[in-house]
């Protein structure tokens, strides 16, 4: 079941990401960006990082995407819609990005990562808080 959910989330995330960088209308690109952020939050849940998934939705969808949409609205109608949306070296850049992906994928699939199976501790969020940087005088709060 998990591989199917992963494939679905990966498809949503990558598809939305491609739409983000290729859509002409920037406001639509920002909406695709929100979909990509939701897909990544789903990936975090699949990885048992529920706190990060919630933080992802709160901060990225709630704050950053809103900020981006406001910036788009405040700089409205400055781009000439008859002009290309990419600069003229976009072909080179696309080739570079594709090459980078092939290289990265080749590396990460060949390296023997020190994978250690383990269960997520039940008090994962408490541990996260206890490991967070803090001033020494507040140490007693976490006992």
């Amino acid at each position: 079941m998990q591989p199917v959910i992963f494939a679905l989330l990966a498809l949503i995330t990558l598809g939305a990401a491609i739409m983000v960088v290729t859509t002409r209308n920037l406001l639509r690109a920002a909406l695709w960006l929100i979909l990509a952020f939701f897909g990544i939050a789903g990936i975090f849940i699949l990885l048992n990082a529920e706190f990060l998934a919630v933080a992802q939705i709160l901060i990225y969808v709630g704050a950053i995407a809103t900020l981006i949409i406001f910036a788009i609205m405040l700089t409205h109608n400055v781009m000439d819609p008859t002009q290309p949306r990419f600069d003229e070296q976009w072909g080179v850049v696309g080739g570079f990005a594709a090459l980078l992906f092939v290289a990265l994928a080749a590396i990460v699939t060949r390296v023997a990562w020190p994978v250690a199976a383990g269960e997520v501790p039940a008090d994962a969020i408490q541990r996260l808080g206890a490991h967070a940087p803090r001033t020494p005088e507040h140490k007693e709060w976490f006992h």
């Binding site: 990401a17 990060l52 990005a97």
Partner: protein
């Protein structure tokens, strides 16, 4: 459980899409969206490594929180810069913002 490599390949793909957006887009806000995609790809890597190699420690998730914080600050500063440039120059086209070009 889904193998670690799948997550790493997904993150690599997302990062490369972000690279393309950041380098090819003409609109400065579009460039910023590409950067956000790259930062999210890094987060997927951090959390995937946490889950698959060091699940009892919390280092991976903590670093992801750092990245989210930095990304939020970066978006705020970047968009403020673009709006300031727009008010002065009436453009957010990165090809026209070249005053500091050597």
């Amino acid at each position: 459980m889904v193998p670690l490599t799948w997550y790493l390949v997904l993150a690599a793909g997302l990062f490369c899409i972000g690279v393309f957006g950041a380098l090819a887009r003409k609109n400065a806000v579009g460039v910023l969206m590409g950067v956000e995609l790259m930062l999210n790809a890094v987060n997927i890597n951090l959390v995937a490594f946490w889950r698959h190699t060091a699940v009892s420690g919390m280092t991976g998730q903590l670093f992801a929180i750092f990245v989210i914080t930095v990304a939020a600050a970066e978006a705020a500063v970047g968009l403020a810069l673009f709006i300031a440039i727009y008010r002065q120059r009436r453009t957010v086209n990165v090809e026209e913002i070249d005053t500091m070009k050597g």
